[in-house]
Symmetry: C2
Subunit: 198 residues, 2 copies
């Protein structure tokens, strides 16, 4: 498969991590997340949202949105449970991630990486929402859970690890979230784990 | 099942629409989207994100995030295809909706309903992003599609109809999007269709 990728994108990292776990070879086409002027030309016919990751299969079909790509490749493997309710819980956390984590932790981190000076009110509101999202994960793990769903490592962990484990790059402190940090450690020792910089 | 609901929420409307299609009886517990001070007390143990919709099964298990709830109930029915790639495409549009439509069309509509005066820069950026999202749907339908995925009515249509068909309540005009309006008309004549006000 061909992956339209950005090296700094946590959403792309999720896809690279799962493809690596599954031993699926992929080719990288790198796109800038700073200069997006070529997006319509390059992936306009592949992804209406013009975002990475966008994945193209060998037969030419394309698929976008990290959550949809993760689901598609994980289904039928150890990375997605077969129980209907556990599958729904995996999706619950993946939708939570795209709504409550990505727009806050990822955007604030992107500002830092791109050297963007945000409006103070926007920064404050995303920072507060990011803290609420981290607290929600901390509270979920406080019930004695080792992983987010089904007490084993799934694509829910891959999806939520991506931006939470680099939250400090956006100026968040993980010190108040010891259970999140311990969960990060458990994810990082999974066989086949790769770094976001790989 | 018991549905923690808000009458103005498009996310809750999606769930009510699918449960109605499927003939699954549900009880409503209404929560305010304006005064959220009771959220932790009422749904704190059910949904870490403290948002509606939150659904509770008769055996006490709970499920949150409209996309996860739709998927769980639609799986195995006519509202979700059985083909693996079409299922991934349904998820692609549902993740697109939560990332590109909900934070823009729904938030701007909520400001209008709640009488909130937003920061001008925030309003401008959400309005521009909302227009881009509507354009992305228009472009997708321009390929001659009657529905978003698999040329039939699925939970992708239910999910994206919810906030796009009331976009004008937030001050968006649908005049530049004739294919979106024609698709709205096709959704609205589906057997069992209910209004967002029902």
């Amino acid at each position: 498969v061909l992956l339209y990728n950005s090296a700094v994108s946590g959403n792309c990292y999720k896809v690279r991590q799962l493809l690596t776990h599954l031993g699926i070879p992929y080719e990288i086409h790198e796109l800038s997340v700073i200069d997006r002027s070529d997006r319509a030309d390059v992936i306009g016919g592949l992804n209406p949202a013009l975002r990475v990751p966008t994945l193209v299969f060998d037969d030419g079909r394309s698929l976008a949105e990290s959550g949809a790509i993760l689901w598609h490749f994980a289904d039928g493997t150890d990375y997605l449970p077969s129980d209907a309710f556990e599958r729904a819980q995996v999706l619950q956390w993946m939708f939570f991630e795209q709504y409550d984590i990505e727009p806050n932790l990822a955007v604030v981190r992107f500002w830092a990486i791109a050297g963007i000076d945000p409006a103070p009110a926007d920064a404050a509101s995303r920072r507060a929402a990011g803290e609420r999202a981290l607290s929600a994960i901390e509270g979920h793990l406080a019930a004695g859970r080792a992983f987010l769903v089904a007490e084993r490592y799934t694509i829910a962990d891959i999806a939520l690890y991506a931006y939470t484990h680099v939250a400090e790059e956006g100026g968040f402190s993980l010190a108040p979230y010891p259970l999140v940090r311990a969960w990060h450690d458990r994810v990082a020792v999974q066989p086949g784990h790769i770094l976001i910089t790989e």
